[in-house]
Homo-oligomer: 225 residues x 2
Amino acid sequence: MSKCEQCIIKQFNSLKSLGKDDLIRISGCKTSRFVSKGEVIFSEGESINGIYCIKDGVCKLSKLSSNGKDQIVKLVVRGDLIGQRSLVSEEKSNLTAIALNNMEVCFIPKNEVLFDLSKNPKFSFDMLQEMAKELRVSDNVIVDMAQKSVKQRLADVLIYLHENFEKDEMGFLKVVLSREDYANLVGTATESAIRILSQFKKSGLISTTGKHVKVEDLDGLRRIE
Amino acid sequence: MSKCEQCIIKQFNSLKSLGKDDLIRISGCKTSRFVSKGEVIFSEGESINGIYCIKDGVCKLSKLSSNGKDQIVKLVVRGDLIGQRSLVSEEKSNLTAIALNNMEVCFIPKNEVLFDLSKNPKFSFDMLQEMAKELRVSDNVIVDMAQKSVKQRLADVLIYLHENFEKDEMGFLKVVLSREDYANLVGTATESAIRILSQFKKSGLISTTGKHVKVEDLDGLRRIE
DNA sequence: TTTAACCTATGATAATTGTCATGTTTTAGT
DNA sequence: ACTAAAACATGACAATTATCATAGGTTAAA
């Protein structure tokens, strides 16, 4: 099994603030796991008892709303940590994590992380910074959900995917989302998402082949209102 | 000026995790200030350079959306801290804080807080916990904004106010929000908020006298869908 | 290879929400 | 108490979005 102290992934998250000794200690406790597409990593209401470091792949974090629909709250990619919130607040997970790709994830037990949080102010501060950033993003999402139209939100999602996710040689997004996933990202009915995507395709803003999507006209998407 | 080490307000926030010495040190640097209703405490885009501890009163944290409307992201009450996020992330504020009451707030300069964060793991951890809680709440808000109807969201706001804010002898909420504030809390047009509030009043779910609102039928509001 | 399950697509229609217009009431300042 | 400004209220209508129905297309397992 590969070693945390040599893992390049940690550059992208708070684990970079740990010293070599701590990383070696964590490396001895961590478990690594492959998760296949569609598999549930953890569910709403479960105790997670540790944090996951995403070594490869993409997953969606979603929450079931009272009307029975799933809302995708965040997409999590290579380098991200998940589970810190539940770890710190000692509560069960409020989100469900489902793989959108085949993934590789490392699991670090709760106590190891809590130990470092109690001993290493640099690590704590880094984690605090990450959470502060997440909160800022959340605020923006709240405002967008409350104030933008479904069409705008869907355009935003496409822009976000285009700017932050890997693409193949043809420029198609490597992440493959169902129309239902798109709907659950923007908080609308699946049919509405399908309709708007069709419309974007007709307007030449995107192209699609099956579930594969390519952004063709970024500025055009930006101009949607 | 009153002293932090004797202030009971700190029980409600992370400052409770500081030792007496640190509180005395902070007390020497802090400034106290009265803010009258409607006054802006800080604006989106400003550098805050410290945190505010709300000693008394209520304020709204809002953000201007791209369509020019304000979205209220959070209501902040006695005991809450504001400004931690910008402090930790070294960024300008992404929110505007406006008093809804006459308020009294204490301002603690950035460096004092950063000093404690670097020296006091208990304080850091407490702050981390607070942020984790805020993130959880944000997730819930995102889901609600995305999935619930305007009517449901407005009912939720009324329930939230009823359960978390002070009421007078008659049961009316002491906080007085304009219809526009209600609209900006739920993310809808002012006219829509007005209409729905009128409807709630007609149905006996709430009663209103001018801007003063009283929840009459909590379960009724909970049943709104 | 067939079949069933699921996803995508689209029309028709209803429900929700926003916008504009207009009048009334309340509030704050003199 | 008076007046101007702001906030509230409501109707009429338009735009957006959800829901229901139906059908074609894809995919994966038997």
